[in-house]
Symmetry: C2
Subunit: 355 residues, 2 copies
Amino acid sequence: MLNPLDKIKTQVKRLSAYTLNAPECRVKINQNENPYDMPEEIKQEVMKRLANRPWSRYPTFVPVDLLVTMAKFSSWRADGILAGNGSNELIQALLTVTVGQGTKVLISEPTFTLYRLLIEILGGEVISVPLKSNLQYDTDLIKQTAKEKEVDLVIICSPNNPTGCVIKDSDLIDLLKDFSGLVILDEAYHEFSKHSVVPLLKQFSNLIVLRTFSKAMAMAGLRVGYLLSHPDLAKEIAKAKLPYNLNFFSLTAAIVTMENFHLLSPIIDKIIAERERVFVALSKIPGLEPINSQANFILTKTSIKPSDLMARLQTKDILARDVSRYPMLNDYVRFSIGTEEENNELLETLKQTFS
Amino acid sequence: MLNPLDKIKTQVKRLSAYTLNAPECRVKINQNENPYDMPEEIKQEVMKRLANRPWSRYPTFVPVDLLVTMAKFSSWRADGILAGNGSNELIQALLTVTVGQGTKVLISEPTFTLYRLLIEILGGEVISVPLKSNLQYDTDLIKQTAKEKEVDLVIICSPNNPTGCVIKDSDLIDLLKDFSGLVILDEAYHEFSKHSVVPLLKQFSNLIVLRTFSKAMAMAGLRVGYLLSHPDLAKEIAKAKLPYNLNFFSLTAAIVTMENFHLLSPIIDKIIAERERVFVALSKIPGLEPINSQANFILTKTSIKPSDLMARLQTKDILARDVSRYPMLNDYVRFSIGTEEENNELLETLKQTFS
């Protein structure tokens, strides 16, 4: 009898699946979500617009309204934008049209784990450049390795998950000028750094930018992301994007949220202010060493074993993220920035734990 | 300066994108949607369950409630089920873990065009077996070709889009027994044939079944599909499925719809009855030759050029599907079964056109 697994590619069978172990907790600071939720006014407007929308009809083939709103919102051209079911789908589409057996993709680890997983499934070779020992990007080494190993793609997450470090525009420009491949800049957390590389798209046709509605935009439950690039590239990447990938509910929610961004903006500012406050407070706790972050989370070195610290926090109904299995991060945990009350609870519990 | 397209795979650049030209019309019978929409009772129950669901929180990593409901609904085990953002996403995940450069995938054309597109993007080789001249599956030729060409996968859509033909269980069993690769049976339209091959999963670990909520289940706008297979296979395919692929709205809608299937069932029966009525009526129109269908559409040979017939229907605000660019279907159009009133309008217009 046939073994049904015989037809699965060897490189896939070798891989461990992407998983998350997440027990339910009252204070949920493990996934870098917006803790304040979507403003009620936006939710009501979405419901109003969808009141008569039949569920049985497909979305339009090209979601023009959404793309035009994204173009206005991001100051880039609509024909250079693709919308996806989370930015994950667009990373996948992008890698599907570029990565085959032996394609070399440079990533700087520790970073978002999905890049490596998708590259390996597609048969590509991961060229991993470590962060510097201070957990910042080593852009010289990235440029040098990209050149020496003749890599095809470079993926940089900035601000980086799970460290919070960023690549400077000047370094990115050096890389873009110097390099004959594509550079993918994932700016999932850019709102928390008050900075975007989208203005560089005009100048560099080998730059691709990824964005998400799952973090600052308070829509993790609805799965929307977008990709910005030269229109010629967007056209090719679109071939691997599935038709009708965005349901009408998420699509409308994204439009209304962009149109009413003034309602979200103060919430984002509040999260940034809380990040600064939490950073200072964490620094004062003996046994903890927080890393400066431009995102809505703080990577923190801990003198207590991460899994033990997680267990301790969970007894207080707090769920943070154990990142000790990432390269270089044996002794680290990651705290998403919660509401002011949640952050206070976290800090109080940590003070007790490390006293 | 770098040409940004240099890093796109040649096989991708060669491909035409999947497109759909669909002007807005009052009578929309071009996408095999359920014309009666979701029953209001189901919509209200979904809204009720989601009233307090924060938008900013990710769905659970594994949607256990959904998988358990799907298991009960389909009489298969939950650990052998994957849920996707439309069945398209699961076709993609399945092909991503199985198809690389040179992998041979047999499809029987004309069929759903996405299979070929995805196989080619992934570098696989399409082995195309034509339908018989009466537009039925040629299972002997499929079996023989699968063996002779040593193909790795066979994909069969049954009832087939756009022809409506089916593969008989006995033929499918012969193929499954005889063949050392995987057989993917896409039963997107199975509700309209009152038949499913899911019971065969127990016996054949090389069978994979795909289902969708976009047709009979009246949820095309919400994008939900599922894959059923041996749990070992599901586990490997899951590696290429993106995390958090289903938003909370679609996920809840799918659960409530399955729990209240008794409300949809009479609607499906009505569509089947309408299909039989429309078939007889089309047969009586000189210049039209409808093909027997087990789905919610009828492929029809037309003595008027398909593009001309489409234009004529559009003047009456009716949008059907021109399928003349599919192999073997130069002279054919496809009519989805609409509401009784819509079908009457179509038939009236056709009678006038062909008189």
